[in-house]
Amino acid sequence: MFRPLEPVSPPARIALGVGFFVLFLAVWAFATLGGYVSRTFLADPLTMVANGWELMTKFNFAYDIGLTIWRVVGGFILAALVGVPIGIAMGAWKPVEAMLEPFVSFARYLPASAFIPLLILWAGLGELQKLLVIFIGSFFQIVLMVAVAVGQTRRDLVEAAYTLGSTDGGVVRRVLIPANAPEIAEILRLVLGWAWTYVIVAELIGSSAGIGHMIIDSQARLETGQIIFGIIVIGIIGLVSDFLFKAINRKLFPWRFA
């Protein structure tokens, strides 16, 4: 068990994974129900569940969840549609990289949340502003990571393609893109996780619906149970989307897992 890099059996893996969730819940319940932490600051698990039920049944929280998901997915898809081709171009053609890389590296460190006041001025408080926050937060990350992945394509595969008669365009289409497709999918999975942080921040400021809006609303009323419920919902959605992404990758790139 303590030998490094020794694999675990699938049942043990599941038991350990679920076990830690149980441990986490137990510590939380002990601290709150046992009276060690003030209820005003941290609700206990039972109150959280009750609050969550109330949110779902009385306040139509499902609508907020749906809205938030659509904002994340919408902004993220826009960023991916523009960012992936630019990243591939940067990875494939060095002059493009030389031109864009310094700017993208700079833009990557501009915090998306700092753009929110500016974006509200430009795009108002509507959906476009939310999508733009996520777009700015995801776009530069996608571009840079895809460029690095494509730039690191095995050189010998490119040479092999040339000896088989590939043109320059053929190398991009039939070597660089398929060789890095799994990497690119993995990058998108990672960045989607980050996009969730941006959407909540965007909803905390100047929003009338969405999970983030509910959280800031609950803060005013000291409803910590609702806040925690909101956070847990985000966690569960993240877990599910991660799982879906991995399943789709496994299906799309069987050669990787053969």
Binding site: E159, A160, T163, L164, R174, A179, A181
Partner: protein
């Protein structure tokens, strides 16, 4: 080549590298069809050519496997098939069997010989293995250590078809002794620098 100057790689010269360079996202069949597909050959021609090389290279039953699922010897057989599928005028092999174990290497040499004896295509084969060089070649060119110049050009007059038993014949041993001397001198020089 044929009076033309060579400036860049092209499909008229088939190339097999020492490292495994099959495209990992393509199956054995798709790898073999790669060159034809790049030149826009019709699909049924691609399939027919691939099928014939799969047969010749003993890859039957593995057409739809990915490179990752193949042994090193099978990967290099696929790589040779991929190069030959383009019907190149010349085959360039850069230590293609260098990473294989000794037994597999012997079998691959016999396979390559049998292909050559059938098609008689010019093959330029780079190797460090003297026995491999004599067994496969009609002409052995010994290169000197840095700078790489042609040091000796030895005709190998062993008759075709050749088989593995030839490796232990007196004529073979004699050639081997001679080339060993030539190359040892270079190795000593290279080690001294």
């Amino acid at each position: 080549m044929d009076g033309r100057e060579i400036a860049r790689p092209g499909p008229d010269r088939g190339m097999v590298f020492q490292s495994y360079t099959l495209f990992p996202w393509l199956t054995v069949e798709q790898n073999i069809m790669f060159g034809l597909a790049e030149r826009g050959a019709p699909m049924d021609k691609q399939r027919a050519v691939a099928a014939s090389f799969i047969e010749k290279m003993g890859l039957k039953g593995f057409e739809h496997h990915w490179p990752k699922q193949l042994s090193g010897g099978m990967q290099q057989r696929t790589a040779i098939a991929r190069a030959l599928a383009n019907d190149p005028e010349m085959l360039l092999l850069d230590e293609p069997f260098g990473a294989l174990d000794n037994q597999t290497r012997g079998l691959m040499q016999e396979l390559l010989l049998s292909i050559w004896e059938r098609d008689r295509k010019t093959v330029l084969f780079v190797t460090h293995d003297i026995e491999e060089a004599i067994f496969l070649a009609n002409r052995c060119i010994v290169m000197s250590a840095r700078p790489g110049r042609i040091k000796a050009d030895v005709r190998i007059d062993l008759p075709h078809p050749r088989d593995y038993r030839m490796k232990t014949s007196p004529a073979f041993s004699e050639l081997k002794a001679r080339l060993t001397e030539e190359i040892r001198a270079e190795a000593v020089l290279a080690a001294a620098h």
